[in-house]
């Protein structure tokens, strides 16, 4: 039999104003197991806590019920108090009589009644509590960062600077991501390459960072502190360790018609190429879909001209297996496909382009050396129409588009408009918007400069139709402030397409058992208080894979994720949560119901020998929970049809006892 002490907190007037705390303390005194009960003004204070310690000693208490605020607030406080007093911390139960009682009731009679009921339920549970001890597991002091854009680069650098080895996996042939494709960056208009490429070099030169480019994660096993990951490094047909990046092969290759993905297919490169001049690693790669040597065994020019013999047509994919303590996802974003937006004639006219294509067109290293010309005829445009929110902020039940705001388009469109007016002042620039959203440091000032100093025509309203006719794009739009229809003959139309998570994120999330929202953005453990962690322990979120973000925000989040990783890797061992699921092997029939609902991949199956009543032995498949991975959510205990699964600290019996106490 337990010896339970009940401690009722006033929380100043927070609880005491709507709950008669003294009556609560009196009412529970005769409950089974209760040997002591008291009320006090601030139970969490130093004095309150010593009162608990003293009571434990004086009355030889074995269990505690604290009637106070939410366990989210002070459960850990009182568990420490219990430990100090010499009882197991899991012998403490909190009856939440503040958030779930005094704060929501106005009537003191009703409030008191409910507080008494909640206290009785907690007492009933403590009667069945058993001491629990946390298990320990070792931490592998190495981190994996998935995605080599600015988010992944920043996270990798910060973790590596703290002294931990980092593997940076990138699916493309070079790191750099979307930022490498941008021209200028808002709100300071410094060039993206000038601030990004030094960081890429830092990554390449860092002794703690290994770049695994042209690779993808194939399999993830294990748990926080002990992930085991398989990475497929795809063949690039060039030996990375030998290639000097001289680029001779990329000039001599006879296959000149390979669409250049880095320039969004607006020009071509050879079948062997280096994605761009500042690529890291600066190593050539062969596109097997276009190389005639790889396709029909004829050519071999690149191997002939390579002075170091780096070309290897026989190269195969390589599987890298490694253990990691923590994983950072930085898989980034892509603009949506504009297939379903043909009212803007994207597929009908070459002169209707996306904002990312515009970045390449104005970039000095782009396909036009930075000359803003129409892709159709190479002429300079004199009237440019920018359309914002293409696919963003759509109605919840709309057939196409995203419900969310893509967040970066208002600012980059202002930037584009300003750049055009700066370089070509005789160009008329129109921007159609639903709202202009510029809440960032120096952001609104930036947008206002576009309107006030650069004379960009901002029009509230949307474009309904773009009609290519001859050399012009007839833009039909509405001006909501003037309440009239507009017809503008434009030379170039730029669409600010919504952004969406990269397609690789969904399969990765499945491998990591990390949760995602309906838009395939990774969800965070808490939207406000734990924004860079996934609910799955040991997985951290960096950049736009978690939601639309601009560069400053991405970098902040990347560093925050790195700080969390460093905090984890600094530990030698990890204490687990002892409230984990346990399976009763005798009752388990191996049906897989539990593993199917487990969000964390904590349940595996093993075949075990069981002795039958007739003294024979039989092999049976039974569920096994990995306590280091289990988060104690309880899904499996509900799903188990035979009642074999139970949750330590929240056993079915304990929950039923609570329910009984409430219904009595």
């Amino acid at each position: 039999m337990q010896r339970i002490g009940v401690f009722v907190c006033w929380c100043g007037s927070n609880i005491a104003a709507t709950v008669d705390v003294q009556r609560v303390a009196d009412a529970v005194r005769s409950e089974p197991g209760v040997v002591f009960s008291v009320d006090y003004q601030y139970m969490c204070s130093q004095a309150g806590q010593s009162m608990i310690v003293d009571a434990v000693k004086e009355h030889q208490l074995t269990g505690l019920v604290i009637c106070s605020c939410s366990p989210r607030m002070h459960e850990s406080t009182f568990r420490k108090t219990a430990q100090l007093a010499g009882i197991n911390p899991y012998m403490v139960e909190i009856a939440n009589i503040r958030e779930q009682c005094s704060w929501v009731h106005k009537d003191i009679f009703i409030g008191t009644q409910k507080a008494i009921t909640l206290a009785k339920a907690a007492i009933a549970k403590v009667n069945l509590n058993t001491p629990l001890t946390s298990g320990e597991s070792k931490v592998t002091k190495r981190a994996l960062v998935i995605g080599g854009g600015i988010a992944g680069i920043q996270s990798a650098l910060d973790i590596a600077d703290a002294g931990f080895p980092v593997d940076l996996v990138e699916k493309e042939a070079t790191i750099g991501g979307k930022m490498a494709q941008l021209d200028k960056t808002f709100p300071t208009l410094d060039c993206a390459a000038c601030i990004l490429t030094p960081k890429m070099v830092d990554v390449a030169q860092h002794e703690n960072i290994r770049i695994i480019s042209h690779a993808q994660v194939e399999e993830v096993g294990g748990f926080v502190g002990n992930f085991h990951v398989k990475i497929r490094k795809k063949a690039r047909f060039v030996d990375e360790s030998i290639c000097t990046g001289c680029g001779l092969c990329t000039e001599k290759c006879p296959q000149k018609k390979v669409p250049n993905a880095f320039n969004l297919n607006m020009d071509h490169h050879r079948a062997i190429y280096i994605p761009f001049a500042q690529a890291v690693p600066k190593v050539a790669i062969i596109d097997p879909d276009y190389c005639s040597m790889l396709k029909n065994g004829k050519c071999g020019v690149c191997a002939k001209v390579c002075s170091v013999g780096a070309i290897d047509y026989q190269q195969k994919d390589e599987i890298i297996e490694e253990d990691y303590g923590a994983i950072v996802t930085a898989t980034g974003y892509n603009p949506i496909s504009l297939e379903k937006y043909d009212e803007y004639a994207y597929s009908l006219s070459k002169d209707v382009i996306t904002s990312l294509e515009f970045e390449r067109l104005t970039n000095a290293a782009g396909p036009t050396q930075g000359h803003l010309i129409r892709p159709s005829d190479g002429k300079q445009p004199h009237t440019i129409v920018f359309v914002q929110c293409v696919g963003s902020r759509c109605a919840a039940n709309a057939e196409k588009g995203k419900e969310y705001c893509s967040k970066i388009c208002c600012m980059y469109t202002a930037k584009h408009a300003m750049l055009v007016r700066d370089k070509y002042p005789d160009t008329e620039v129109y921007v159609f918007y639903i709202d202009v959203r510029t809440p960032g440091k120096s952001f609104d000032e930036f947008y206002r400069r576009a309107v006030e100093e650069y004379g960009v025509h901002y029009i509230k309203g949307m474009v309904g139709k773009v009609i290519p006719e001859g050399n012009t794009l007839k833009v039909q739009a509405s001006d909501l402030l003037m309440n009239k229809q507009l017809h503008i003959d434009a030379d170039l139309v730029v669409l600010a397409a919504a952004i969406e998570p990269d397609r690789s994120a969904r399969p990765l999330a499945t491998m990591l058992t990390a949760s995602m929202d309906t838009n395939d953005f990774f969800t965070e453990a808490h939207p406000k208080l734990r924004p860079v962690e996934s609910p799955t322990a040991g997985i951290f979120l960096s950049g736009t894979c978690q939601g639309p973000k601009d560069i400053p925000e991405t970098v902040s989040q990347a560093s925050a994720a790195a700080a969390k990783v460093i905090g984890l890797l600094c530990k030698n061992t990890l204490k687990g949560n002892p409230c984990v699921a346990v399976s009763d092997e005798m009752m388990c029939n191996g049906c897989s119901s539990c593993a199917n609902v487990c969000p964390y991949g904590a349940i595996t199956y093993e075949s075990k020998e069981f002795r039958m009543p007739d003294r024979t032995t039989r092999m049976r498949r039974v569920a096994k929970v990995n306590p280091a991975v289990c988060q104690g959510c309880g899904c499996c205990t509900v799903a188990c049809p035979s009642g074999a699964m139970d949750l330590d600290g929240f056993k079915n019996q304990q929950i039923m006892a609570e329910v009984d106490a409430i219904c009595k």
Partner: protein, 264 residues
Amino acid sequence: MKVSYFPGCTLKTKAKQLDDYARSCAEVLGIKMEEIPNWQCCGGVFNTSSDEIATKLSAVRALSYAEKQGQPLISVCSACHNVLKQTNHAMQTDAVFASRVNHYITQPGQAAAQAYMGNTQVYHYLELLRDIIGFDRIRDAVKKPLTGKKIGAYYGCLMLRPSSTMKMDDAENPRIMEDFIRAIGAEPVIYAMRNECCGGYVTMEDPALSQKKSTAILRNAEANGADFLITACPLCKYNLDKNGNIPVVYFTELLARALGIVEA
């Protein structure tokens, strides 16, 4: 295969070719179109007023007849097709509306004494060609391909919208008529205005407005190199014919030519 057929008023008067060729082509392609007996005017676009059930009764009677026959319901005219599909959608998803309509049509003395249960599938004739017959089979059946002809498909507004109900094609980037043009051996001309409104019935009240809309469509088609346009809608044909010089023909006529049913 047998299908129920709802021709509509205009196809019996001004747009007789649309109707005739639709029937004869279907026959060649192995489909028997059985005209619904005693069909009534669908009510045109006027019945899209949502608070009135009386205007929808004609469509429900047609749907109910096809249900009784266990046949899909085919129409050729864009407006009839729009009314039939929208009414069918309302009968399938709006229980209150459905019970009011069914209560009415099952009154003693009414022609269709049977309630409509929402089981009829409505197809536009183009959908019949694409989904039931298949453009591949049409390509094989073509005897006189219209090789070298540059044809602009004119969809208009009613055939595709609202796309959540019509479920025929992408309203902003449709391809069903272009695929049809390819199937009969001609070259489709894709132009942006192909799914814009011609002005519709507004032509009776404000002919200048529908003239403005129609000329913009014709100019855009011409600028993109179309020799002539095809349509499925008698009203669109009326407005376009009145306001421009590019010939506008019914798509069924071209199909009949390609299948060798009529001489060009």
